[in-house]
């Protein structure tokens, strides 16, 4: 018998997974709320901006988590584990497809580009930069691009990236350094009208 309502927001990801494995619906709701959007964005980047495929991957990943929560080792970080699973799903998809889609030739209408201030000038700048950035990052090889996107778009730390990709932290640092220098050098001619 519980005297106090459980505060799911204060629970860690690992605690939520354990509670979810025991049949706690609310724990699953919180876990979904934490990782649905980041994973959706991740799959959008990895699946050539294919929204339907990205949503299918999100659905499959959480379905796997519901049916087999024992796959997750509570001694590990859930964040690194879920991104490892997502990365493996993408690799398997690449093997199936064996092709690389050429995606953005223009602005993707489903991808939000406006900032919170709704400044028209900034919106235009961000949109243009985004387009140039996507062109430049496609030139980068996959292993460097993956590290860069995990660091800057998924918010993973060096250690977490190393755990997800099963490489050393030193390798992560060197790849991130190379990708950052390469992209910054490639976009040096892009001069924004407004700098934050």
């Amino acid at each position: 018998m519980r005297l106090f309502k459980k505060e799911y927001g204060s629970l860690s990801d690992e605690q939520l997974v354990i509670a979810m494995a025991g049949g706690d619906q609310r724990a699953f709701d919180h876990l979904y709320g934490r990782y649905a959007k980041p994973l959706m964005s991740y799959f959008m980047r990895m699946m050539w901006k294919d929204r339907e495929k990205a949503e299918d991957f999100v659905h499959d990943l959480f379905t796997k988590l519901i049916h087999r929560p024992g796959l997750f080792d509570p001694s590990r970080s859930f964040k690194t584990w879920v991104y490892s699973v997502a990365a493996n799903m993408c690799k398997n998809e690449y093997k199936k497809q064996e092709i690389r889609k050429n995606t953005s030739n223009g602005l993707d209408s489903s991808y939000p580009v406006s900032d919170s201030s709704k400044n028209t000038l900034n919106e235009a700048h961000n949109a243009l930069f985004k387009e140039a950035f996507e062109d430049q990052i496609l030139v980068l090889d996959a292993k460097h691009r993956e590290v860069f996107e995990m660091r800057h778009f998924d918010g993973l730390s060096m250690k977490e990236i190393a755990d997800v990709l099963q490489i050393s932290e030193g390798t992560v640092k060197s790849r991130l350094f190379y990708a950052t220098r390469y992209l910054a050098e490639g976009l040096k001619d892009f001069r924004p009208a407004h700098t934050a």
């Binding site: 519980r2 459980k6 509670a19 049949g23 706690d24 619906q25 609310r26 724990a27 699953f28 979904y32 649905a36 959007k37 980041p38 959706m40 964005s41 959008m44 929204r51 990205a54 949503e55 999100v58 659905h59 959480f62 379905t63 519901i66 049916h67 489903s110 991808y111 939000p112 580009v113 406006s114 900032d115 900034n122 961000n126 930069f129 985004k130 950035f133 800057h152 778009f153 918010g155 730390s157 060096m158 640092k173 991130l176 350094f177 950052t180 220098r181 992209l183 910054a184 050098e185 976009l187 040096k188 924004p192 700098t195 934050a196």
Partner: protein, 272 residues
């Protein structure tokens, strides 16, 4: 470390960097121009990331809820309905009777109360057994070869009282024959209940008759100091029956000739 470098590049200007900070960012941007270029790049990337994540379709969440309900069916104690269903009463979880705390406590108490009489019975049985060293007094009405009756324990305590009384009066017949004194080749000759056992099983035929006779004699005169008489007689008989048996030892035999000397003489059986 890389996170620190990124923060320094994003937040600071090149002119305000300390020597240590410049040393840190030197690998990323050695000159001020490179510093500014890297600064703009990182801020623009941050803006793209800050634009927000994409939200999956609501149908995905509905489908996952259905899968979860199928996987973990039934009423879940921790489940509470979402806000839009607050007008409906919250479903009270059904807890089986055998899982309720008070039922379990009552069952344990009932078991303890139900077995309480058995505790007293066990203690009573232990007190009845008494000490094994006390020789059991034969029941005069008991037949030869009969099993030891439970009421002999009362007779034993009675005999002990009688022995104590005789010792005080000074007219005692003490047969201090420890159990080890009676160790013989005859396995059936025990200290207690000897008269109730068939001695013929362990003795020769000729001696069996004699043993039977003395066995009968041993049953007589049990009123005053029957235990002592029997002990003396038994040890004496055994010693006489097995004169060459060195395992038989009589440590102390003190006989008072004051009482019934005639009967005592009857127990002296010649060895030949």
């Amino acid at each position: 470390m890389e996170a620190v470098i990124e923060q320094i590049i994003k937040k600071c200007t090149y002119g305000t960097l300390s020597a240590e900070e410049r040393e840190l960012v030197r690998e990323w941007c050695g000159t001020e121009e490179e510093f500014m270029r890297m600064k703009r790049f990182l801020l623009d990337v941050e803006a793209i990331a800050a634009a927000g994540y994409l939200e999956p379709n609501r149908a995905i969440k509905s489908s996952l809820d259905t899968i979860f309900a199928t996987r973990h069916g039934g009423i879940r104690a921790n489940w509470t309905p979402p806000a839009e269903t607050a007008v409906r009463p919250v479903e009270v979880p059904v807890i089986p009777m055998h899982q309720r705390t008070w039922v379990r406590v009552a069952a344990v108490a009932l078991l303890l109360l139900g077995t309480a009489p058995l505790w007293n019975l066990a203690d009573h049985e232990l007190s009845k057994q008494g000490t094994p060293e006390v020789a059991k007094l034969e029941n005069p009405e008991a037949k030869a070869g009969s099993a030891v009756k439970p009421e002999q324990s009362d007779s034993v305590s009675e005999v002990k009282d009688q022995r104590d009384a005789a010792a005080i009066a000074g007219n005692e017949m003490i047969a201090d024959v420890p159990a080890r004194a009676l160790r013989t080749t005859s396995p059936d000759f025990g200290y207690s209940g000897a008269y109730d056992k068939p001695l013929a099983d362990s003795l020769d035929d000729g001696e069996a008759a004699m043993a039977e006779e003395t066995h009968e004699l041993g049953r007589m005169s049990v009123s005053d100091a029957p235990l002592a008489l029997k002990d003396f007689s038994a040890a004496g008989i055994e010693a006489d029956l097995h004169p060459d048996d060195e395992t038989v030892t009589l440590e102390t035999i003190a006989i008072s000739m004051a009482d019934q000397p005639g009967e005592l003489l009857d127990f002296i059986v010649p060895a030949f």
